[in-house]
Assembly symmetry: C2
Homo-oligomer: 215 residues x 2
C-alpha cells in the first residue's frame, strides 16, 4: 500500500483545505479554522501548527509566497498550496472517507480494565458517564439546530455524525447499566467476590496466566 502520509497530523489536512481557498499565513489559517468551529473537535495546538506548516513546506505541499513585515511586528510568512498539496488533500480525504480504521478509544481501554474495580463501583461510574453524555448530547442538538439556520447541511455532517455516535454510546451504556443494576450481568457475583476476597474462580485464574513465560 502507499507509503504513510508525508505529514501525518490531521491538523495538516485542515491546514491544506483552508489554504486551498486562498494563500494565508499560519496564524490566519488558525483563525479561519476557529471561525468555522473546527476547533470544537480539534482544539488548535499552536506548537503543532507551525511544525506542521513547516513540514508541509518541506514536503512540497505548501510553498512560501512572501514574507511581509508590518512595522516592528514579527515577520509573517504567507503560504500557498502547491499542486501536490491539492492532490494530497483530496487523496487523503478519499482515504479517510473510504477506509475505516480501528481507533482505540479511551473508554474502551477503561472497559478493558474495568474488572479491577468491583461491579458495585462500576455502576455509579457508568451512571455518571451517562449523565454527562446526555448533557452533551442535548447541547450538541441545540448547537446543531442553531447552526442549521445559517450554515448549509454540507458543513454540518461531521457534527451530525459526532452526535449520532454519542447517542449510540449512551444507548450502549444504558443497556450495560441495566444489566448491572438488575443483577443480570453473567458472573456478577464471582466478580464481586473477586473484588472482595481477591480470589478468582479456578477457570478464570487459568486464563489470567495465559501468555506468561514458562520458567
Amino acid at each position: 500500500m502507499a507509503k504513510r502520509r508525508p505529514v501525518a497530523n490531521l491538523l495538516a489536512l485542515a491546514v491544506l483545505t483552508v489554504v486551498v481557498q486562498r494563500p494565508m499565513h499560519p496564524y490566519e489559517m488558525a483563525s479561519v479554522l476557529r471561525a468555522r468551529g473546527k476547533d470544537q473537535d480539534m482544539p488548535i495546538k499552536w506548537g503543532s501548527l507551525y511544525t506542521v506548516v513547516r513540514n508541509l513546506e518541506k514536503h512540497g505541499l505548501l510553498e512560501a509566497v512572501e514574507s511581509t513585515r508590518q512595522g516592528a511586528r514579527p515577520e509573517r510568512t504567507v503560504y500557498r498550496v502547491t499542486d501536490a498539496g491539492r492532490v494530497e488533500a483530496e487523496d487523503w480525504t478519499r482515504e479517510l472517507l473510504s477506509t475505516p480504521r480501528p481507533e482505540p478509544s479511551a473508554f474502551e481501554a477503561g472497559l478493558s480494565v474495568m474488572a479491577g474495580l468491583g461491579p458495585d463501583e462500576v455502576a455509579p461510574l457508568l451512571r455518571q458517564r451517562l449523565e454527562l453524555l446526555e448533557r452533551r448530547i442535548e447541547a450538541g442538538r441545540e448547537d446543531l439546530a442553531r447552526e442549521r439556520q445559517e450554515m448549509p447541511r454540507l458543513f454540518l455532517v461531521e457534527s451530525e455524525y459526532a452526535l449520532a455516535m454519542r447517542e449510540a454510546e449512551a444507548t450502549w451504556v444504558r443497556s450495560l447499566l441495566a444489566e448491572l443494576d438488575g443483577g443480570t450481568f453473567p458472573g456478577q457475583d464471582a466478580w464481586r467476590a473477586y473484588r472482595e476476597t481477591g480470589r478468582l474462580p479456578a477457570d478464570v485464574a487459568d486464563l489470567a496466566e495465559r501468555g506468561s513465560t514458562s520458567e
Copy 2:
C-alpha cells in the same frame, strides 16, 4: 481538576493492570497483553513499552525487584507495582469509565473536509467504507461468539462496545448514503455545481470568508 496523569500513554494503564497480578519483566508484560488479545485494539509498540515502564518507575508507580541474567542473554529487569501504582491504576480506570471526553476521529475529519470532493465522488467512497465496515462487523461478531465460549463476559465488554459502535457507524453511513443516492441531500446540486465550476453560491462564499484577518 486533578493534574495530568504522570504517564499519559494508555499503554501504561495496561502495563499497570497486568503487573498488579504478579511482578514481571517488560517483555513478559507485552506477552501477557498479547495473549489476552489486548493488542487487537492497541498494537504493542516496543519502543513505547520500555519508555513507559521507565517512566512508571521514575514516578514511583513501579519498582525494580531484581535483575536476573540467564546465560549471555540481555539482562532482564523484573518490576513490581507499588501502592501508588495500584492507586493510580484504579483512579485512572475510574476516570476513563466516568468521564466522556471528545475524541476526534479520523472519519469525522474526513467528513469535515468532504465538501472538497463532489457528491458523486463521495457516495462511492462511503459505499466502500460501508462494505468494509460490514465485513468487520461480521468478523467481530464471530470472534465474540468464539470467545464467549472460553472467556467470561466480564472480559469481553470492551469488544462488545467496539462492535456496537461500529454498527452505529454503519447505520449512520447507510442513512447518509441513502440521502445522497436519492438526491434528497439538501444543497446537493449547489455542491455538485461548486465542484464542477469552482464557484460557490454567494451566501456560502461569505461564510467561507469568516475569520479572515481584515487587511
